[in-house]
Amino acid sequence: MTVVAVEGEPNGLAEMIAGLLQANVTGDADKARLLESLRGAVQLDVRDAGVTIGLKFVPGTVTVTSAAVPGADVRITADAATVMALSTVPLRYGLPDVFTPDGRAVVGKLATGELRIGGLPLGLPMLRAVTTLLNVA
């Protein structure tokens, strides 16, 4: 069984991400299995919205918080549009598929600094897992 929980008073982004995760793990057995095996934490900062959330994974459960997670395995910093693009971009092995225009557009934002990902390369497996869990493409 997989559980998506919200900790504390959620901000709008925390509610959105929790809803997205809940729908995805409920409707997709592969994503539910992925969550069953995941342990670690991810922090997501949406600069232009001034909103931060944390995702804390223990096997079978993800807790979404409206706060930073010190020591997160992966820290994703982006604007709101890029965060939405990360959820809709076609993936290949859990990362944006550079063989598609949308995938190249997202990867290109790494070069311009519009998308920053901290914690790599050690956090690569967690990054691939969380992008897969949040993806709706």
Partner: protein, 142 residues
């Protein structure tokens, strides 16, 4: 000028949506009613919470009308905010996606569907912004 939040405004909105090639393309796979809840702000001359429901289907708006709270809550997608937030969104002063992330617009509905149709949502907002709208807190008293 069309008074905001009236049936006349919704009729104009529906006509503009149905004339929009951008919306037709962005919402080609959208199915389902979307309810707007304009929450009361008496100090802004918006004394009562008002509900509207848009019957959106594959890039077309089949109906747009003021409705009851009960019917609005039955819609598969509901967006609610105080009157003045809606005004900011319609005027392009507040990005709807950022507003949702900040909790300034509150959304209820299937999130994956909404995320897949962010472009359609932005077009809906842009169309609303093109309507010459008279907001009640800007009306001059006779």
């Amino acid at each position: 000028m069309v008074a905001y939040g009236t049936q006349e405004w919704l009729d104009t909105y529906r006509e503009r949506i149905n004339a929009s090639a951008s919306y037709r393309a962005a919402a080609a796979t959208w199915e389902g009613a979307l309810a707007y809840v304009f929450e009361a702000e008496p100090d802004k001359r918006w004394p009562e919470t008002t509900h509207a429901v848009m019957d959106l289907w594959h890039g077309q708006c089949r109906d747009a009308r003021l409705t009851s709270a009960a019917e609005a809550e039955q819609a598969p997608f509901v967006i609610r905010a105080p009157y003045s937030r809606w005004k900011q969104v319609i005027r392009g002063e507040l990005d709807p996606i950022k507003a949702m992330m900040q909790g300034k617009l509150r959304l209820r509905g299937d999130l994956p569907t909404v995320v897949r149709h962010v472009a359609a949502a932005k077009v809906l907002v842009a169309i609303a912004g093109e309507i010459a709208t008279e907001f009640p807190d800007e009306q001059t008293t006779a």
